[in-house]
């Protein structure tokens, strides 16, 4: 019966299309957490990835180490020269730190927005699909990682946690940021107050972040440092983001947009830390109040 067969195939195509639309609709909306099967799959694949990652990264590191060995002498000379400079800086830093501590004590203010506890993690895989700039790290809910936490390397901010499984989580890199991932930021200038702006996206062509909403009368110069302000709720303040490269007026001429070159290399990442802010966010405080009542 060819007609029945053809009808069956049509049914399969239609059902497939409906499933596709339903699944995309289900997964693309702004979800607070992953569904249990997704978490389970992510963790099981994560374990296997860790098993494979160990020997491969061992070989990779050995090659890297051998390469590094050739440059050790020159590096050593440069570092020695730097070291003497730093001694002075350390002393000054310690003095300032104790001063801040004292001042805080007199003010009865114990936790500040810049305090955080880092969770060290290793990158075990990166999304193979190039439409998605994300990677998998080997720490999850059990280690204290939560959605929307900031992720850094030693150079600076690289992204934020997109979703968490029990033992692994997915990190959205800065290069994959769009308008739904905003970071409130300050531009640090010499001899002036900080200028406020929002990181609202990433310019694919030039590989720079877009810092938008800067007031027209603020004057920024290329080379100014951009740090997180901690006012967005989840990120602590003083995380290094990048340097200002170029400032233009936005399309309506009401505010300015700065192009920011990130400090961190988005491509060569192997170790990161997830930043757990010490100061409580409004939401978690509300949760606690609910629990108390």
């Amino acid at each position: 019966m060819p007609s029945l067969f053809r009808r069956k195939r049509l049914m399969v195509v239609l059902v497939g299309f409906i499933v596709l639309v339903a699944l995309i609709g289900f997964s693309i909306r702004d979800r607070d957490s992953l569904s249990t099967p997704e978490k389970f799959l992510q963790d099981s694949i994560g374990w296997v990835q860790t098993v494979f990652h160990k020997p491969v990264s061992l070989v990779d590191n050995t090659i890297e180490n051998v390469k590094d060995m050739f440059g050790v002498y020159e590096q050593n000379e440069v570092l020695k020269a730097r070291l003497s400079e730093y001694k002075g800086v350390i002393q000054e830093n310690q003095r300032l730190k104790s001063e801040i501590e004292e001042l805080k004590n007199t003010m009865d203010k114990t936790d500040s927005l810049s305090d955080y506890s880092p969770i060290q993690a290793t990158v075990i895989a990166r999304s193979s699909d190039r439409w998605f700039e994300q990677m998998t790290i080997n720490k999850g809910e059990e280690h204290g990682v939560e959605k929307d936490m900031a992720v850094m390397t030693s150079d600076g901010l690289v992204g934020k946690v997109k979703s968490v499984g029990a033992f692994h989580s997915t990190v959205q890199l800065l290069s994959g940021f769009d308008r739904s991932n905003k970071i409130s930021a300050w531009v640090v200038r010499e001899g002036e107050d900080e200028a406020f702006g929002l990181i609202e996206g990433y310019d694919d062509e030039s590989g720079r972040l877009l810092l938008e909403g800067i007031k027209l009368d603020e004057e920024l110069s290329p080379g100014d440092t951009v740090i997180s302000s901690g006012l967005g709720g989840v990120f602590p303040s003083n995380l290094r983001i990048g340097t200002v490269e170029e400032v233009v007026n936005d399309q309506f001429g009401l505010t300015q947009t700065a192009y920011v070159e990130p400090f961190a290399d988005m491509f060569d990442i192997s170790h990161v830390m997830v930043v757990d802010r010490t100061a409580e966010t409004i939401e978690s405080e509300m949760d606690q109040e609910e629990d108390a009542s």
């Binding site: 497939g16 499933v19 596709l20 339903a22 699944l23 995309i24 289900f26 997964s27 693309i28 997704e38 799959l41 992510q42 694949i45 296997v48 990835q49 494979f52 990652h53 491969v56 990264s57 990779d60 990158v123 075990i124 895989a125 990166r126 999304s127 193979s128 699909d129 190039r130 439409w131 998605f132 994300q134 990677m135 998998t136 997109k162 979703s163 997915t170 290399d265 491509f267 060569d268 990442i269 192997s270």
Partner: protein
């Protein structure tokens, strides 16, 4: 037996896809030309061509399962790879009836498969506005490098697995 081997190999490629992106030299993988590895698809196309007979559809089911796994692990948008891989493998399985199963026919089908799959992913992602790239840019910066990179992988993989897959097919048909 051979079914589990195929599933294990697919899992291996799934993991290697993600590892390759983080471990291969950055200036090769992250130049202006963006290539996406479709290793599972290529392996499953070989399975569809040499393992499946005209009326068995093992590769299609593998495509469904491992497509969904890619969605969960690497993209977070469910269903896209699942449907794309299933459809492409089914199409290639159908085309295979008109061609002799040899290297040239297989590589032709692999090129067609990868090109169709990548284009379909692009179309779906641009519908849900994950990408806003234009067609011209996509073809030049993504499609061509992706095709080239995946063909290199196909040429390496083909001699390694072809005999094995052929043996498996005979083993299954003799049962």
């Amino acid at each position: 037996m051979s079914r589990y081997f195929i599933a294990l190999l697919c899992l291996f490629f799934l993991i290697m896809q993600g590892m390759a992106m983080s471990l291969l030299p950055a200036n090769l993988v992250y130049s202006d030309l963006l290539m996406t590895p479709h290793w599972i698809l290529i392996f499953l196309l070989i399975i569809a061509i040499f393992y499946d007979s005209d009326d068995t559809y093992h590769a299609v089911w593998y495509g469904l399962v491992f497509g969904l796994l890619i969605d969960v692990v690497y993209t977070g948008v469910l269903g896209v790879y699942m449907i794309t891989y299933t459809l492409i493998i089914y199409t290639v399985h159908g085309l295979n009836k008109w061609l002799h199963a040899n290297f040239f026919a297989a590589s032709l089908l692999a090129i067609i498969g990868v090109a169709l799959a990548d284009t379909m992913l692009y179309i779906i992602y641009s519908f849900v506005q994950i990408t806003t790239m234009s067609w011209g840019e996509y073809a030049l910066l993504r499609l061509l490098p992706t095709l080239a990179a995946n063909m290199i992988f196909f040429i390496i993989l083909y001699p390694l697995v072809k005999e094995k897959v052929h043996d498996w097919a005979e083993e299954v048909s003799s049962l």
